[in-house]
Amino acid sequence: MFADALLAGLDLFLTPQSMLLTVLGVVFGLVIGALPGLGPLMGIVLMLPFAVSLPPVAAMGFLIAIAVGGSCGGSVSAILLRIPGTPLAAATLFDGYPMAQKGRAADAIGIAISASALGGLFGGVVLILTAPLLASFASNFAPPEYTMLALTGLIAIAVVSEGSLLKGLITGAIGLLIATIGTDEFSTGYRFTFGIFDMLNGFHIVAIVVGIFAISEMASQVMGGGLNEKPDVKAVRPGFRTVWMTLKHWKNLLRSSTIGAAFGALPGVGGTISSFSAYAVAKALSKPEEGYGAGAEGGVVATESANNATVGGALVPTLALGIPGEAATAVLIGAMLILGFFPGPALFANQPDIAGGVFLVYLFSNVALLFVGILATPVFVWVLKLKKSYLIPVVLLLCAVGTFALQSSVFDLRVMLGFGLLGILLRGAGYPLAPLVIGVILGPLLENNLRRSLLISREGYWIFLDRPVSATLVVINLLLIGGATFVTMRSLRRRRQAPLVARTNDAGR
């Protein structure tokens, strides 16, 4: 089963275009990951308009390689500047920065890159072994299972998103409503189009994603200040001996990669949680003389291998079920849909060459990361000196031209700006943005399968409890909401009591 998919994808993968774009994707990912405030999601969002004009496997190779490079790139600024380029690398600075302070910056970066590549390859093996099995299991799913699965994906992401559960669910529901704009697939009636011709097909997913993430991020960066700061970083040149230094921690590497891949497959968990968890486990199992927190190589190995293995794990539900695990994979699903193939069991049954091609580009992107990352580190270090005052205008230009290029449509530009404003407002009020995009992606899947379920059901909504898998998912959804509500209520009660305790203490002094 696994070998069949890989062999089928070999023809699509072994083209100069696919391989070159995968390497370019890794380079771009490393650059954008190294720049504080940006990250793999922003990289994928900015390059999405370019990618959708490419052949499917080359396009997916380019975008997945950006995710792979971006997940590792954040470690460069974490190690050299004590500023993680992305939240994924936040745990890397615990030991990476002390290593740099001890004059071992090149070793720290080399180990980070090697651990990322090896962790990513482990995630790739997990992806290749589990995705076809999961797809085969899901091939028996009917509309009720898909309805509940889409709900599980959305609820899990809303629950785990930063901010409150309520706010995550609200942005998820907004996403579901946005997905209903346009022509209804069943009745062919028009919904929320207001007589505007451009709205008959709804809003383009790229315009939404670019607006909500990139435009609002740039506004946030401008507000943050430090636009003309130029950090003083010295050139570093890691060598391939850091691969052996990483392999000396093979137990840690395997354990952390397993944590990363397993967490990645769970909706909403993502690389940040997996890297912190892997670091915590590695530290708990370490000997005192290893000096975790004071420049231990094992600390860098744990966090970096975990966050890159997460990418492979996150691709499992994305490819096998069509359910995104987090915002970046939601955007990847959006790209797949634009490219004309539908992730899920049908992909493995009908287009095994595409599935196999995606597996191979993912593996190759990690191999490329090892070589390109170590050889081109001086370039990524130089990138850290770029001023935001140049970066912000360039990013906004890429947003505008990239979105326009999709359909040569000025309407898409207006949509992008509108979602940018919405993103700024929601960010300002502490609402997470990822559930909105996931709601937009999962909306059609949820609505179509819900209506199909009701069409085939003789007992209305009871159909969701009549089928074992669907009923299990209903229970999981209720547990997720119940558990998150309990945690939210408890933290609200604590927050309300905190000022009271403070006032009582002040009065006692």
């Binding site: 009636g189 506004a219 407002l425």
Partner: protein, 165 residues
């Protein structure tokens, strides 16, 4: 004058209440007129958005209750963000919006260097050469990638300014 996160939260709540109202208004008017509001799961295209709107309404009510009776967000205790701190992001959005609005009229090759230059000035760059040179280079570089490589015709504007690469 400061703006607090709680005030922004209320602004979002007001916007969302409007969104829920809009769903019901559209279902009762436009969708009903098209004949896609009543019927079973196949014909009734209004039932699903109305269900989502009901769920959204309940979530909004719960969020409003949290805002009314819960503790204030930590930033509120610091007095929030001064309005003058919002001038720069507002100007960024204004310049970008103006660029998008004038792009079909002025064309890519006129509007883009102007937008890039204006944003660089907004970000604090002052040396004319440090603004003009990157603005022109980035603008032409992006045009080359899109027009020559990706074969996308960028807006020529009223003057029909398009490069022949």
């Amino acid at each position: 004058m400061n703006i607090t996160p709680r005030q922004v939260e209320w602004l979002v709540i007001a916007l969302l209440v409007g969104l829920v109202a809009l769903v019901f208004q559209q279902a009762a008017t436009d969708m009903a007129a098209q004949g896609i509001a009543p019927g079973g799961p196949y014909d009734n295209a209004a039932a699903y958005p109305k269900t989502v709107a009901v769920v959204l309404g309940l979530l909004i009510a719960a969020q409003a209750a949290v805002q009314l009776f819960g503790a204030a967000p930590p930033q509120d205790e610091d007095g929030g963000v001064p309005l003058r701190k919002l001038v720069r992001p507002a100007a960024l959005i204004f310049i970008f919006g103006l660029y998008l609005g004038t792009l079909p009229l002025l064309g890519y090759h006129v509007a883009t260097p102007l937008m890039l230059g204006a944003l660089m000035v907004l970000c604090g760059l002052r040396r004319p050469l440090a603004i003009a040179l990157p603005a022109l280079l980035v603008s032409f570089g992006a045009a080359y990638v899109f027009e020559a490589w990706l074969k996308i015709v960028l807006p020529g504007g009223l003057f029909h300014l398009n490069m022949v690469w």
